[in-house]
């Protein structure tokens, strides 16, 4: 692999990782390169992204992970995008969060983030302030995390009589999720018996 190829791979990996970012070890692992090599490439790439005038994103390093972010000086355009009249919609993040809550309520922020794979504080805040979701109680246990659920406004907004009118999800979604849990259950069960007998 030449330098260009390696950096193209790194770019695609960082891109796909999104807000989660990747650390040196993960990159080294996927590329089968040493961490030193990766670090050299990262330094080179960081510099290159900063220098190139036609690039709107650059590499930032946060808590040991590298990720792409939009360049700070372009933030006024992002703001325009968010506020543009063509965008009189919830952000995709908001819509996703709302969908998860609608189908899986009551649900904690952590559980939502587990499904989405990204932080969800802000979309939650937005949805609460728009009155589409609200606190429906607290999860049991130490953290006593907030449980979110949809509101009456939510039903009005989507023209639903009640939650049972939500379109049904495909069977395999439920099956898959079920399987994972059942698998874990049986694994745990099996282990517990093995331990006992051993």
């Amino acid at each position: 692999m030449d330098k260009h190829e390696i950096q193209a791979i790194i770019e695609s990996l960082l891109f796909a990782a999104g807000d989660e970012g990747l650390n040196i070890a993960q990159l080294a692992n996927v590329l089968s390169l040493s961490e030193e090599d990766i670090l050299t490439h990262m330094t080179d790439m960081k510099e290159r992204y900063l220098q190139e005038a036609s690039r709107g994103i650059h590499i930032v390093e946060l808590a040991g992970t590298f990720q792409f972010a939009t360049k700070r000086n372009l933030s006024s355009y992002i703001k325009r995008l968010v506020e543009s009249p063509t965008n009189s919609t919830l952000s995709q993040a908001g819509l996703e969060t709302l969908a998860i809550i609608a189908y899986r309520q009551p649900i904690t922020r952590m559980a939502i983030e587990d499904v989405r794979g990204v932080k969800t504080d802000r979309p939650l805040q937005t949805l609460v302030s728009k009155g589409l979701i609200k606190e429906k109680g607290r999860a049991e246990g130490a953290g006593r995390a907030i449980l979110y659920g949809t509101t009456g406004e939510f039903l009005d907004y989507f023209g639903l009589k009640d939650l049972s009118q939500l379109p049904s999800l495909p069977d395999d979604v439920q099956e898959l999720e079920g399987d994972e849990e059942t698998d874990l259950f049986f694994k745990t069960l099996q282990n517990s018996f093995t331990t006992e007998e051993g």
Partner: protein, 264 residues
Amino acid sequence: MLVNETKKMVIHMEYNVKVEAFEGPLDLLLHLIQGLEIDIYDIPMAEISEQYMLYIRAMNVLELNVASEYLVMAATLLAIKSRMLLPKQEEDWNDEDLSLEEDDPRDELVERLIEYRKFKMAASELKDKEKDRGSFFTKPPTDLSEYESTKQESIEGLEHDLHDLLGAFHKLLRRKKLQRPMSTRITRQEISIDKRMDEILNQLRKKSGLHPFHDLFPIAEKPHMIVSFLAVLELMKRNEVVVHQDENFSEIMVEASKGVTMVG
């Protein structure tokens, strides 16, 4: 005969799965036509009917549920076959044109087969596209809520329908997630029954007396609940906890057994 029958059954069972793989009578007919290397515009009805009936018989032998559509098609095939055997109508004075012109009883069937075949091919092209779509990855939208002006506090002006909601959910499910050391995943996988047993015992001993059963399930995630449940069972078996219930459906109460030493 009996031996034959048994042998036949064995052969059939081996192909059981394949028998059910046809998408319907049209699919089956297309297969037969191709297998017999027949011209689709000039189907020999006797031959195709025979082959088709063979298939239906096989399904019966296998005691598979023959969908009614297959039987309707069988009847159609036989009807076409017999119509072709009928003596020619007398008013048709020109004998040579008969089998060629629009009176051919097979026309409608051929049309249906050709129409269905188009979509069968289109379906296989879609399948290729489905596969190709799996070879490139997009990213989730960046959370842009920090750019939203805070005064936007009503749902006025928003335009979504239920379909957007469902769509968002599907997009999410389809999104390939990178494996990452997400804290929740790790803690979830690391719960062992032994550890949970220790935790529960400590919890019960901290405050002597009865504890509500549901207090032992602090984390509302299934894996954690299952491990907790198994831990309680194990502790009961070892007589390290005692469980009380006053009556059916009343709250189950748990307490640590007295005079038992801490588990190592």
